[in-house]
């Protein structure tokens, strides 16, 4: 039986989206949730014959936006216990620059998203601003603060190591 072309397309996009969402969140579970949400929206659009011209780009925008939205919705939550971070050790096995990966986890979601969209996706500030629903000036300031914070984190970890 021939598979639904939309489902086939969604299936082919799943892996790159999962990696993108993982870079964005640093968390496998959250990445899976975001990809799930974006693909569901994509399939719904396809049922209404409103498929975007560039599906991958559309899905990445949805994921970036949802990531920030989730942050907005849940930032007042106070966790009673830290979530299980066991995944980190698994994924770190495949990442050489573990210091930088850890430093990224200290950034706010928006700051991290800006860095991922700029350095991994190579988007310009206007594209990032559209995806995150903010101004280009905000994108620039978030990127600048994120880089500054990363540098501080890396300096601190280097000082720890040297001492």
């Amino acid at each position: 039986m021939r598979e639904d072309p939309v489902a086939e397309l969604a299936r082919s996009l799943r892996a790159p989206l999962l990696r993108y969402a993982f870079a964005l969140t640093g968390d496998a579970d959250r990445a899976a949730d975001l990809v799930q949400t974006a693909l569901e929206r994509f399939v719904r659009l396809s049922r209404q014959d409103q498929l975007p011209a560039r599906p991958l780009s559309y899905l990445k925008r949805v994921i970036a936006h949802e990531h920030i939205s989730v942050w907005r919705k849940t930032r007042r939550e106070s966790l009673v216990d830290p979530p299980d971070k066991a995944t980190d050790s698994t994924t770190l096995r495949g990442i050489e620059d573990a210091d930088l990966w850890r430093a990224l986890s200290q950034l706010g979601r928006k700051q991290r998203a800006v860095l991922v969209l700029r350095y991994a996706e190579d988007w310009d500030d206007a594209q990032i601003a559209t995806a995150l629903g903010c101004s280009e000036a905000t994108v620039r300031s978030q990127a600048s603060r994120a880089l500054l914070r990363l540098r501080k984190q890396l300096l601190a970890s280097r000082a720890d190591w040297e001492s």
Partner: protein, 382 residues
């Protein structure tokens, strides 16, 4: 030599890092330590079909079947303390400590206190015990014949569902909201008489199952803000999460089969599928990562757990206990008949077991800690 922390070099490092992440094997991202057979996360055929409002998704899903236990804790009555056999025989022993010398019908935990509800012949008594002091700080006799479910909602509220009092006309189920400190009643709401069996608290909603309907009430005002109908299914348990909720139940017509459904926050059915097995009243608990753990148990000889992901893929797990499930954020427990308690990991597999004296009425807790409520006492895991 260039300072590795200089701006342009840091940017190069970021590009290289993301490049590496983008080349990671998908399994490196999705697999969890300790889960030998990870559930595959997505099967797009099922989602595509479900969004077209297909009632039942029937497609070739990778079902990871494991033969479940053929033995079990059979022939034991409440209060017996036999050692469990089968799958958990090699699991570690789970330590249980006495917490309170009276039992309860149901319980919930919130803001450092354990709340117990005890049904008597003509009333329901709610008790608050701060966990740090282990002394009863508040007690309230409710004007309800019984409490069938209780949950702690955000904002310092305790929400209970009470069935209609005997002889009441018209028969009304009520949702009662209490102030968690004093246990004073702050609001009540009448529900259709068919509402029964289950209550669950989401981020800001109370979820109630009623036949094939799942009602959602705002937890502060108790106003109805959602009413979802799931065709062909009598819902026996719901478990909300950030995405929406999971519902499990029995087929409402034909031979008895179990079903699971995934509903998003807007009330759309994402998928509904049949579970293998014919047991009554399955239970469900949402797990992190858009997954849920479904417990299937009709007797101590027939217990299974199924981990199912957001698109309907499922893995069946050999288990001893599945009647009551609890997930505490980073740890879980399953309770079965005859007081069998199992600590479970993120994939639903047993890591340790214990037997309580008496049947387990309810489980609640925080973190890895669980309070185990039996009719005669409350114990806490070590």
């Amino acid at each position: 030599m260039k300072d590795p922390l200089q701006q342009d070099h840091l940017q190069d490092r970021l590009v290289a890092l993301f490049d590496q992440v983008y080349r990671l094997d998908e399994r490196m991202i999705t697999s969890k330590p300790g889960s030998a057979k990870p559930v595959s996360r997505f099967t797009w055929r099922s989602v595509a079909a479900s969004t077209a409002a297909t009632a039942l998704v029937v497609c070739a899903l990778p079902v990871l079947l494991t033969q479940f236990a053929s033995g079990g804790a059979s022939g034991r009555g409440p209060g017996d303390t036999a050692t469990p056999t089968t799958a958990s025989a090699d699991a570690a022993e789970l330590q249980l400590h006495d917490f309170y010398d009276k039992g309860a019908t149901t319980a919930t935990y919130g803001q450092g206190s354990l709340f117990l509800a005890t049904n008597t012949a003509d009333s329901c008594v709610v008790t608050r015990i701060p966990v740090a002091h282990r002394v009863v700080r508040a007690r309230r006799v409710l004007p309800a014949a019984a409490c069938v479910g209780m949950a702690y909602a955000s904002g310092g509220a305790l929400v209970l569902v009470a069935p209609p009092a005997a002889g009441a006309a018209p028969p009304k189920y009520q949702v009662i909201r209490l102030r968690s400190e004093s246990l004073a009643v702050t609001a009540t709401a009448d529900l259709p008489p068919t509402v029964q069996q289950t209550i669950s608290i989401g981020r800001s909603s109370v979820w109630l199952a009623a036949g094939n309907r799942v009602l959602s009430l705002d937890s502060s005002s108790l106003r109805r803000n959602g009413d979802v109908r799931i065709k062909g299914m009598t819902v026996t348990a719901v478990s909300p999460d950030a995405f929406g909720f999971w519902a499990v139940g029995d087929s409402s017509s034909g031979p008895l089969t179990n079903q699971v459904a995934r509903i998003d926050a807007q009330g759309h059915l994402i998928f509904q599928r049949q579970l293998q097995g014919t047991v009554s009243a399955p239970t469900v608990v949402a797990l992190p990562g858009n997954r849920a753990l479904v417990g299937l148990q009709s007797s101590s000889r027939d217990a299974r757990r199924v981990v199912i992901n957001g698109t309907g893929d499922m893995a069946e797990i050999r288990a001893d206990a599945a009647r009551i499930l609890l997930w505490n954020g980073n740890g879980g427990y399953a309770a079965g008949l005859n007081g069998l308690l199992e600590a479970i990991d993120n994939s639903g597999r047993t890591t340790a077991t214990a037997i309580t004296s008496g049947v387990i009425n309810a489980l609640t807790g925080v973190g890895r800690r669980a309070f185990v409520i039996t009719p005669s006492r409350v114990a806490v895991t070590g």
